[in-house]
């Protein structure tokens, strides 16, 4: 068990290091330099290049960056001259996390419910309805859903504020818009998983014991059906994170996604570098945690992996 965790941990570390390296060198390929403003006097530009260490050889810059990174320093933003990337993250990330957590909760709650209902009502009206909702959720991109939500629920019906992030009512539309795709993913997977388990022998055993339908569903079906669903939590989180890029843009949520999209348009390259590394590492770490949780929940993995 420990050995398994340790292996996973090492792989995650290597992944993050590769991510940092690849991102750093790719960014160097960006055309031009960050100080393209022609009004900038040459001496000032030189000074700034010197100040940011941009005149050093590339490998020096890389190791400097790596050194700073290990001290948790991602450097200054080039656009917001007096803000560090760290400050931006500290300020904006909690908002993104809040949005993401709401969306995750909605996804799990609605996704599992829809999936379970669909499976129990297999080939009946509710099944078709649930799967139709799921199909919409999978087919329609988050930014379209966000835009439509905004138009119908905020602009037309005035049920929620159109944009901004100033209280609970502001979180409803972006959270749901962000969650819909994940709701659909979970619902489909849960339904398939439940249907597979309905015809397993151990459900027959439970039936032969004289348990009621409810007891069989609760004790034998759902718990076993949830296990495979857990494995998509990783891709799901990646989905939610990239989803925040567009959702935050649409609803003007001052979260990290909005800064990320902005930095790409303004070629604020310390910001791009810092946020890419941050997002990437965040997902790698979360995936690692999910892996650990999975090992703890499923008794079969718990012992199987212990050996090798």
């Amino acid at each position: 068990m420990l050995k398994y965790f340790f292996q996973r941990f090492l792989i995650a570390c290597v992944t993050i290091l590769i991510l940092i390296t690849v991102t750093f060198f790719l960014i160097q390929l960006l055309p031009g330099d960050p100080f393209l403003d022609p009004k900038l006097p040459v001496e000032v530009k030189e000074n700034m290049m010197e100040y940011y260490g941009l005149n050093d050889p590339l490998y020096m810059q890389y190791f400097n960056y790596l050194g700073n990174l290990f001290q948790g320093d991602l450097g200054y933003s080039l656009k917001y001259k007096n803000l560090t990337v760290n400050e931006v993250i500290m300020d904006a990330f909690p908002k993104s996390v809040e949005l993401g957590l709401y969306a995750l909760l909605i996804s799990i709650l609605f996704g599992l419910t829809l999936g379970i209902i669909a499976a129990l009502e297999h080939n009946k009206k509710l099944d078709f309805l649930s799967m139709f909702i799921a199909l919409i959720g999978i087919s329609v991109p988050a930014f379209i859903i966000g835009g439509l939500f905004q138009y119908f629920f905020a602009v037309k019906l005035h049920l929620f504020p159109v944009a901004q992030w100033q209280g609970f009512s502001y979180t409803v539309l972006p959270s749901f818009a962000l969650a819909l795709g994940s709701v659909a993913l979970i619902a489909r997977l849960m339904r398939a998983s439940m249907l597979e388990i309905v015809s397993t022998d151990y459900v027959k055993t439970a039936d032969a014991k004289g348990l009621s339908r409810g007891q069989i569903i609760l004790r034998h079906q759902i718990r076993n059906a949830v296990l495979p669903v857990l494995t998509i939590l990783g891709p799901l989180l990646a989905n939610l994170v990239t989803g925040t890029f567009v959702i935050e843009k649409i609803f003007a949520v001052p979260g990290l996604g909005k800064y990320y999209v902005e930095s790409m348009q303004t070629l604020d390259y310390t910001m791009i570098l810092g946020l890419t590394i941050f997002f990437g590492s965040f997902l790698v770490v979360v995936n690692l945690l999910i892996d650990f949780c999975y090992g703890i929940i499923d008794p079969r993995i718990r012992t199987k992996k212990a050996g090798g």
Binding site: P31, F143, V246, M264, Q265, F279
Partner: protein, 304 residues
């Protein structure tokens, strides 16, 4: 019971009937088509996609205007007789822009999907075929790459290469082949141990011949299924990139970009958002349904 004595004549067993398999079997692809054509949702989707393709070709020719010519006298006109889908803030025909956008989306979807499939086939094929250390190295590399969400890499590549159709295709193909390579490798690993391959090897078939004659045709099912997933994914990625402003840039257009512009004027001119939104959604839905149908038709065991 009274039955005539001559009826008790020995006839013995009827080997033919006894061995008879009562339901006839079709060839594999005929069977696939039969199952696919029986799937209403998939067939509707196919018709929709074909219509879309036709309109993408002829749509822009149906109006005298052009998708990239500004007409400042006729800005933000609502859809109607004059302007079928209305005009945007620069007076450009949305009708034409939608169909040009369709061309871009479809082209990107297919090209990116095909390129990533080719890359995935080659790398996955090599890993699966040669095995050993090379395989281990490739698979570890894929493991690492796959744990970073592909959109982040696509974004990074796009930022570096700048906007445009070709950079998008390259960015998607460069990041999308990972899953494909894994699938192909698994399939080939499994095939390698099967009898007909072993017999081909013992008959002296060369590696290349083996790969192209035996292994690739037998991975076709997996490839088709992942293509049906890759195409909508690529279309989605393009729309996403254009929407956040690093995909297709004006005066060229795409559905994602139309949605982005539409979003900005949504409160006043909602049709500018709704029209591209409907097209993106319906196309994604059709691709999804058709892909599902094709997957079920190819592998009826998976059917739920």
């Amino acid at each position: 019971m009274d039955i005539a004595k001559e009826k008790f004549r020995h006839v013995g067993k009827d080997n033919e009937k006894g061995e008879l398999i009562t339901r006839k079997s079709d060839s594999f692809w005929k069977d696939v088509w039969r199952r696919l054509s029986g799937n209403k949702a998939a067939m509707f989707s196919l018709v929709f996609l074909v219509l879309l393709l036709i309109m993408a070709i002829v749509g822009p020719m149906m109006t005298p205007q052009s998708y990239n010519v500004n007409d400042l006298m006729n800005t933000n006109q609502s859809p109607g007789k004059e302007h079928w889908f209305g005009t945007d803030s620069l007076g450009r025909e949305l009708w034409d822009r939608v169909w040009i956008g369709a061309r871009v989306s479809i082209a990107i979807g297919f090209m990116a999907a095909i390129f990533q499939t080719i890359i995935g086939l080659i790398i996955g094929g090599i890993a699966g075929f040669y095995g050993g250390r090379l395989d281990m190295f490739i698979m570890r590399f894929i493991d690492v790459m796959i744990s970073i969400p592909y959109l982040i890499f696509v974004i990074l590549i796009m930022v570096i290469m700048g906007s445009g159709i070709v950079p998008i295709v390259i960015a998607i193909a460069l990041t999308g082949w990972l899953e494909m390579a894994r699938l192909v490798r698994g399939q080939i690993m499994q095939l390698k141990n099967e009898e007909f391959i072993i017999s081909a090897v013992s008959l002296g078939a060369g590696s290349l011949r083996l790969i192209f004659k035996h292994l690739i045709p037998n991975t076709l099912g997996v490839v088709i299924v992942s293509l049906t997933v890759a195409i909508p994914n690529a279309i989605f990625a393009e729309a996403f990139l254009s929407f956040i402003g690093i995909g297709i840039k004006p005066p060229m257009t795409s559905w994602g970009q139309l949605a982005d512009i539409g979003m900005q004027v949504m409160q006043v001119y909602p049709y500018q958002l709704l029209i591209p939104a409907v097209f993106i959604s319906l196309t994604m839905l059709a691709l999804q349904l058709f892909g599902d149908g094709l997957r079920d038709a190819l592998d009826p065991k998976l059917r739920k």
